[in-house]
Symmetry: C2
Subunit: 259 residues, 2 copies
């Protein structure tokens, strides 16, 4: 899809059946992670986000049963993502392209900030983004750090890693610190072993990304963290986006950049 497509046009194409990763679609519009849970679990999830704002920055939380969000009036959360994941008791059971048949009046949707937003800001500041250069999904790892639990929800912090030239690490920190609603500043620079990561070439999610000589691994809190909590905490039913197949909002990345 063209990067100049509008957000509404992009959502309409996915709704009409297009299945493709959303990276680069409707450029400049904020893409969001999606987690959908029954109302019975919604307080736990909302509290998990409140207590863990770096990995789980909540951009919007809907009323029970709502099928749209204030971030994209006229959208339909049941159809407008290119691909979903359906979870039962913490197990992945399906990856449909439409969840209209599964929708229930008690479902609450959580729209969560995504690092796609700050990758553009890094590029604009002159920081190379290796996963984009290499056409690969970013590398993500479960860490040895626990999130602060919330009710029945608990799980490890998941981080994304981007290799950054050593001289540009301070700039990368400053650029992303200005975007706290899309994960903000890195949580860790260098020393993967102290996060419990044995092998950077074997990510738990996404793809291995090659570092250039002089690059340092920089780790940001990652929006996959709530999916890891769902797998660990096993709610009876949940829907999420499929990795890389995000919800495209009408908001712009500039909206989430602090002055």
């Amino acid at each position: 899809m063209s990067t100049t497509t509008t957000a509404g046009e992009a959502r309409a194409r996915y709704r009409d059946g297009l299945v493709a990763p959303t990276s680069g679609a409707a450029r400049g519009h904020t893409q969001a992670n999606l987690v959908v849970l029954p109302a019975d679990w919604a307080f736990d999830m909302l509290l998990f986000g409140q207590r863990n704002p770096r990995p789980v920055p909540l951009l919007d939380v809907t009323d029970p049963g709502a099928t749209s969000t204030v971030l994209a009036p006229g959208s339909d959360l049941r159809t407008d993502l290119p691909r979903y994941r359906v979870w039962r008791d913490g197990e992945l059971v399906d990856e449909p392209t439409d969840v209209t048949d599964l929708w229930r009046d008690d479902l609450v949707s959580f729209l969560i900030g995504c690092s796609f937003s700050f990758e553009r800001a890094l590029l604009e500041a002159g920081v190379p983004v290796r996963n984009i250069e290499q056409g690969r999904n970013v590398s993500m790892y479960r860490t040895n750090r626990d999130c602060r639990p919330a009710g029945r929800l608990s799980g490890p912090l998941v981080v994304s890693m981007r290799p950054v030239p050593a001289a540009l690490v301070p700039l990368a920190v400053q650029v992303t610190a200005r975007m706290p609603q899309v994960h903000g500043a890195p949580v860790h620079v260098g020393s993967p072993e102290s996060l419990g990561i044995d092998d950077l070439d074997a990510p738990d999610y996404g793809e291995a990304v090659q570092a250039a000589p002089g690059d340092v691994p920089v780790f940001w809190a990652c929006g996959v963290t709530p999916q890891a909590a769902l797998m660990a905490s096993r709610p009876p039913f949940a829907i999420t986006h499929a990795p890389g197949h995000m919800f495209i909002t009408d908001a712009t990345d500039a909206d989430y950049r602090e002055p």
Copy 2:
């Protein structure tokens, strides 16, 4: 009480029976608004905070029944505030100094940022704070702006007003913008009538504060907003702090100041 008392000492004195406003106590330690609701209403309150972060910046939310907070290990939320307010069906029914007898296993406590934190930052930056100069409680007003509702909770935005010398308004904006967890930048500068405020000398809460010649009224989102929502939405039971009688945390105002 001396301004150099530690946070733990201050809480112990209130626990032992001292009743006094907390302004200036344990200087430098972050003071918080308190809202306590039954678990049945906790999702609505948490969502109200998520949707209205300027007036309702959530610093911590406890597990149901918990009597302490990570912001002050060893504290007791039932005894460590100098005075409480008890609400039934949205009506104020009592102002006790201890709520141990009223505590229930299903109560969830919300600790909410307070503008006391940014008043210190304003003074340090050279911005005069007229209510402090005049030894008065800050002026607060219900506005004609509605908060974004959340479930059964809705209500008007409440603002605090501080007169600021015109030349220092930009500095006041910048200093407070760096403290988003204690209400952040002003929501409105000048023109009280466009917020629906007819008479600055007749505040809805707190006291009238006199402006100096050349002062401009500057309005910040206010932590009384959730109390206004409780009065409008009438949950069967709630406990809050009494105005000016805050919970003193171990956190410091510097913790909530962005670099």
